[in-house]
Amino acid sequence: MTMTSSPTARALSVVGRRLGSARKDLRGRWLSYVPTVAFLVLATIAAVTSDAFLSQGNLSNLFRQIVTNGLISLGMLTVILSAGIDLSVGAIVALAGIVAAGLLNMLPWPVAIPLAVGVAIVAGGLNGTLVAGFRLPPFVATLATMSAIRGFVYVVSETPITPTDMTFGRIVASSVGPVPTPAIFMIGCFIAVSFFLNRTTMGRAIYAIGGNEEAVRLSGINVRAHIMLAYLISGLFAGLAGVILASRVGIAQPSVGVGLELDAIAACVIGGASLAGGRGSVRGTFAGVLLLGLISNLLNLYSVQAYYQQIFKGALIVLAVLARRREG
C-alpha cells in the first residue's frame, strides 16, 4: 500500500478519476448527439444503396424541402422553451403565402414580402395576446387561432393566387454554388436564434420562464412581455416559411401548411426539447429537422408510400424521447 502515497500513483489516480468523469460526460453528450448520429448513419446507408441520393438534384431538393420545417421549428422551439405551444403555425404559413401572392400583384416584392411577413407577426401577436394577456392555456389559444386564421385565409381568397411578379420566386429558386439560397438563409436564422436564446437577456429569460415562471416574475422580469415575444418570433418564422414556400412552388394555396405544426413540434422534441418548457436547444432542433427531412427524402427515393413515412416519424419521436430519458 506504499504505492498509493507515491506521486506517480497519486497522479495516476487523479487521471483515472478524470477519465471516469470524462467517460460519463461522453455518455451524456453522446445521447445528445443521437439525432445527429442517426442522421449520419441514415445518410451513409442512403449514399451506399441509392445512386440517386447523392445526386446534385436530390441533395438540393432535400435542402429546399427542409427549409419550411426548419424555419417553423425555430419559432416553435422558442415558444416551447417558454412552456408554450403554437398550433397555428401551419395556418400562418398559408396566411403569409396568400397575402404575399396577393400583394405581389400590386406592389414590388421588397415591399410586398416584408408586409406579408408583417401580417404573420401580427398573427403571432394575436397568439401572444391570448396567452400572455388573457392567460389562456397556449394549447387552447393557438388551437382557436389555428382555426380562425385558416378561415381568414379562405375569406381572403378561396382560390389559389399565382403572383405575376416572379422576381422573388427567382431569388428563392437560386443557388449559391451547389447550395440553394433559402437553405443558406435558414442556416443563418439557426445561428441567429441560437445566439438570441443563449446570449441575450431576452433569450435567457424565455428559457427561465419555461423552467419556473414564478421565480422569473419575482426576479423582477416582465414575464408577459417575454411570452409575447416568443409568439411574435413564432409568427415571424412561420411567415418567412410561408412566403418562401409559396414562392418556391410558384402559387399560393389557401389549403397549404396543414399539419406543419406537428412536424415542427416533432423536430423540437426529437432534438431534445421538453414540452414542459425550459429545456431544448437550437442544435438539437437542427438535427431533428435534418433527420425528419432525410427520412421523407429517403422513403421518397425508395418510393415508399407517404403513410409509411408517417409511421416512421411516429416511431422516431418515441425513440428520441426514450433515448433522452436515459440522460435524466
Binding site: K24, R199, T200, V216, R217, L218, S219, G220, G278
Partner: protein, 512 residues
C-alpha cells in the same frame, strides 16, 4: 444473522431491521453501510443534516429507490421492496413533504382513494358515506377540515398535509413514515398530529419520524438514529442525550457557534409601512425598518406573515401607505420593488426562487441582467466574473458555474437564491424563511451572511417560524396572528414562551 452493533433492545423481533444499506448515485455515495433497527410500537426519529442520507433511506424503505447493498427484514422476514406498491403491500406507508394528493378531487375522494363506498355493485358512489368516513378519519386525528367535499386544491397547505396524513393513517400501516411534517404544520396542528401518532403507536404501529427540528425529535421520539454524510453516526435513547449532544452528533459542532455575534449600528427608518391591508388576508400592518437592523417577524402557519412580505415586494396587491427613504413607495410588481432596491427571498425556493434545470450562472444572473449586458446582449466575461465573485461570497459548493441548480444540496440551493439578491444589490432585504429545509451547517453560513449584510447597512426583515432563529438573529421582533401584528418585543424582552403565547393568542384570547 448479521452482526448486531446497534444497541437494540433484546428479546423482541424488530418490526424493521435494515442492515448494511448502501446506495450510490453517480459519483456520490448517498448511503454507506447504514443499519436501522426499530421495534414494534416505537416512535423512532431519524435525524441528520440535509444531504446526510435521510431521504435516500426513506425512499429505499418506500420502494421508490433500489438499494445497492444490504438486507431488509420486516417482523423478521426478509423482504424485497422493488416498488412503492410492494412497500405498501408490506405495510409501509410514507407521508412525504411533497404531497401525493389529486388536487382537483375532493378531500373525501382523496382520503378514500381506491376505496370509495359505492352502491348498486359499484355503479354509484355513495357520497354521504364517503363524506362521513372522511370526516371521521380527520376527526380521529383532531384535525379540522371544514368541508370534505371541497377540492383539495382549495385548501391551505397545512390542511392538505392533514388530509395526506389522514389518508395514510386510515390504511393502518405497520410502519408509518412521516417526512418533515412540521415543514407545513405548526403549533396546535403539530400537537394534534403528535397525539394521533402516539395513539397509533399504542395500537402497535411503528412510526419513523424524519426531522431536522430537534425540539420535535425530543418531544415525540423514544429513540433517535443519527446520520451524517451518508453514514451511520449512531442510535441513541432520547432520554440519554440532550439537544446540544444531538447537534454534536449531527454536525460535530456546538449550538452556540450557529448564531454569529451582532454589532449593529441602527440608523433612521428606511422603510415605513402604515395600515397595509389585503382583504381577508391581513389588516392594518404597521412596521418600520432601518438600515443595519434585523427585524424578525414570527407567526404560525396562516398568520399572514408571508403575505405581508409579498405585498411589500409588490408580488400581491394591497392597500395602505408605504414610504421608502422618505419617498412614497407603491410597488405594482416585483420589478417596481427591485428598481427601488427592495428584494425578497421567498419561502419556497423550488417554487418561487430557482429555475431548477438551469445553471448556477443563469440563476444568479436572473435578477441582474442589466448589470451584465448592453442592449440586451449578455457579456459572458462580465457575467462570469460577477457570478464567480458571488459564488465565493456566499460560499456555494458546486462543481462548476454551469452546473444545474437541481443537482445542488438544499443548503447550496438556498445560497444561490441569497446570492441572486446580493448580486442585484438591494438595500431592503425581505427574507421569508431563509433557512427552511437547510441543514445546520448551511444555516450557520446563511446567518453569517445575514449578519454581515446588516453590518453593511442593509435593512433586513426576517420572517421565520423557527423561534431559535428569530431569537438568535433579530434586533426587534414582531409577532403576527390572524393577519395582524399582535406583539412587538425588543431583543432583550423576547423569550420563546412570550413569542409563542402571543402567536397562539394565549394572552388575549383566541382570534380568528
Amino acid at each position: 444473522m448479521s452482526q448486531a452493533d446497534v444497541p437494540a433492545p433484546v428479546a423482541m423481533v424488530p418490526r424493521l431491521d435494515m442492515r448494511g444499506i448502501s446506495k450510490r448515485y453517480d459519483a456520490t455515495l448517498a448511503l454507506r453501510n447504514v443499519d436501522l433497527v426499530v421495534q414494534p410500537g416505537e416512535i423512532h426519529a431519524i435525524a441528520g443534516e440535509n444531504g446526510a442520507g435521510k431521504s435516500t433511506l426513506i425512499k429505499i424503505l418506500a420502494g421508490a429507490v433500489a438499494r445497492d447493498a444490504g438486507a431488509i427484514k420486516i417482523d423478521g422476514v426478509e423482504t424485497e421492496l422493488p416498488s412503492p406498491h410492494a412497500a405498501r403491500q408490506a405495510g409501509i406507508r410514507v407521508v412525504y413533504q411533497e404531497f401525493s394528493l389529486v388536487p382537483h378531487l375532493s378531500v373525501a375522494e382523496n382520503i378514500l382513494l381506491g376505496q370509495m363506498p359505492s352502491r348498486a355493485r359499484g355503479m354509484w358512489i355513495d357520497w354521504k358515506t364517503a363524506a362521513q368516513r372522511a370526516s371521521a378519519a380527520l376527526d380521529s386525528l383532531g384535525f379540522v377540515v371544514p368541508n370534505v367535499r371541497r377540492p383539495v386544491a382549495s385548501l391551505p397547505v397545512s390542511q392538505r398535509q392533514m388530509v395526506e396524513i389522514a389518508k395514510a393513517m386510515l390504511e393502518r400501516p405497520r410502519i408509518l413514515v412521516l417526512d418533515e411534517p412540521s415543514a407545513v404544520l405548526s403549533g396546535g396542528d403539530l400537537d394534534r398530529l403528535f397525539n394521533a401518532v402516539r395513539a397509533l403507536r399504542d395500537a402497535g404501529t411503528t412510526v419513523l419520524y424524519v426531522s431536522h427540528r430537534l425540539d420535535e425529535v425530543f418531544e415525540i421520539a423514544s429513540r433517535i438514529t443519527v446520520l451524517k454524510d451518508g453514514g451511520l453516526v449512531g442510535t441513541v435513547d432520547a432520554s440519554s442525550i440532550d439537544q446540544a449532544g444531538l447537534v454534536r452528533m449531527m454536525v460535530g459542532r456546538e449550538l452556540a457557534e450557529i448564531y454569529p455575534p451582532r454589532n449593529a449600528s441602527i440608523g433612521e427608518p428606511l422603510l415605513q409601512v402604515r395600515n397595509l391591508s389585503r382583504t381577508r388576508v391581513f389588516k392594518d400592518v404597521n412596521l418600520n425598518l432601518a438600515p443595519g437592523e434585523i427585524v424578525g417577524v414570527f407567526g404560525l402557519v396562516g398568520s399572514g406573515r408571508t403575505d405581508v412580505v409579498r405585498a411589500i415586494f409588490g408580488a400581491d396587491a394591497s392597500t395602505g401607505e408605504m414610504t421608502l427613504g422618505g419617498r412614497p413607495y407603491r410597488p405594482r410588481s416585483p420589478g417596481d420593488a427591485l428598481s427601488r432596491g427592495v428584494a425578497m427571498l421567498s419561502e419556497d425556493r423550488a417554487r418561487d426562487g430557482l429555475v431548477l434545470q438551469l445553471s448556477i450562472r443563469d440563476n444568479l444572473s436572473l435578477a441582474s441582467y442589466s448589470q451584465m449586458s448592453r442592449l440586451g446582449l449578455i457579456s459572458r466575461r462580465l457575467q462570469d466574473a460577477l457570478v464567480t465573485k458571488e459564488i465565493a461570497e456566499v460560499n456555494v459548493r458546486a462543481p462548476s458555474i454551469g452546473a444545474a441548480v437541481r443537482r445542488l444540496s438544499g443548503g447550496n440551493q438556498q445560497k444561490v437564491v441569497v446570492g441572486k439578491w446580493l448580486l442585484r444589490g438591494a438595500e431592503v432585504l425581505l427574507l421569508d424563511e431563509p433557512t427552511r429545509g437547510v441543514d445546520v451547517g448551511a444555516k450557520a453560513e446563511i446567518y453569517r451572511i445575514i449578519a454581515t449584510l446588516a453590518e453593511r447597512g442593509k435593512a433586513i426583515l426576517l420572517v421565520s417560524s423557527e423561534l431559535p432563529e428569530i431569537l438568535g438573529m433579530s434586533d426587534r421582533i414582531l409577532v403576527m396572528r390572524g393577519g395582524r401584528i399582535v406583539g412587538q418585543f425588543s431583543r432583550s424582552e423576547a423569550t420563546e414562551e412570550r413569542l409563542l403565547a402571543a402567536a397562539a393568542g394565549v394572552v388575549e384570547g383566541t382570534a380568528a
